[in-house]
Amino acid sequence: MALVGAFACAHTPQLLARPGTEDREIVLRVHEAFGRVKHRLEALRPDLIAIVAGDHVEAFFLSGVPAFAVYVGTECAGSFGHYGYRFPIHEPVARAVLEQGVERGFDLFYTQDARLDYAFYVPLHFTMPVPAVPLVPLHVNVYLPPQPTPRRCYEWGAALGEILRGRPERIALMASGGMSHFPGTDRYASPDLEWDRGILERLCGGRGHELAAVTGEELDKTGNVELRTWITVLGAVGAARAEVYCYAPSWHHGNAVVEWPV
């Protein structure tokens, strides 16, 4: 019974360090939705947060590019600008995810010392409940082709959900990333908000499984390579109907915050 809540949170760094080009009202709307997630987490009282994020070529540069990775150290740490952060890792659950994941046919990479990217930190900066809980950080490769297919992400998420439900701890699952954005490309100022809205409509209708059939090319074309983290969580939550806390698109980014009741 141990999966107590599931969420997806935007993590664009402008939510943490806002440049003048960013609409403050939009940023604050996303912060407000993060605040709701924090209150929900405090009510759900998880023993840990298993967070699925896509490393932004921070922990895993070209010396090694895993499709899926599990952090299994005693703690994990990283920095972004003047933000430094450090979190304890829930080792028993991290090891269970690794060992049972491999047993189920997912050839997972693991690390005890890789840096923790801001993709993990940004949502936690705003949503970590009080008192704070340890993490199980789970990486999905979203930016360095060839990335895992959406179907593989969904399958891994389904296995992950089964593993987490088999644990005695109370576990919150969180996807970090999305929605449409094109950093570093000539489409940066043209996120595909229509595609995002269509996806959110499907999620609200409990049709998240349909995202397993989306192609990697479609994710790239719509600025949604990071949606692999959501698709992983969708594998775990099945047909649950999403509640959208906010969809607050900026001029370059479809900021969304979502909860799935589990």
Binding site: L15, L16, V27, V57, F61, L62, Y143, P183, E217
Partner: protein
């Protein structure tokens, strides 16, 4: 596109492409700008010397210092690395332009 398969043609259209091995040093330099504080400090003090330290060729150094995204992408730089390296440089050069939460 003679000699290019449909699959390859499709891959060439992607926003985020496989980083070609020939661009390794350029991508390593961008990675260091975004993720290595000491290198970033050296770059801010002397951009040209720092870029050369990473083994970039003359055109790559020129385009990096000019912040010419399209040229960097044409050299094989990964789009996300170009974006975040530029943002990190800006955060250090103009820290008061940001509101920190």
């Amino acid at each position: 596109m003679a000699g290019v398969s449909m699959e390859e043609a499709s891959a060439h259209d992607l926003h985020y492409q496989f980083p070609p091995a020939g661009a390794y040093r350029l991508n390593r330099c961008l990675f260091a700008l975004k993720s290595d504080r000491e290198f970033l400090a050296r770059y801010l003090a002397d951009p040209r010397a720092a870029a050369k330290e990473m083994g970039l060729d003359g055109n790559e150094v020129r385009d990096l210092l000019a912040g010419d995204r399209d040229a960097l992408l044409a050299h094989g730089a990964h789009a996300y690395l170009v974006f975040m390296a530029a943002l990190r440089v800006r955060m250090e050069r103009e820290p008061s332009d940001f509101e920190y939460f």
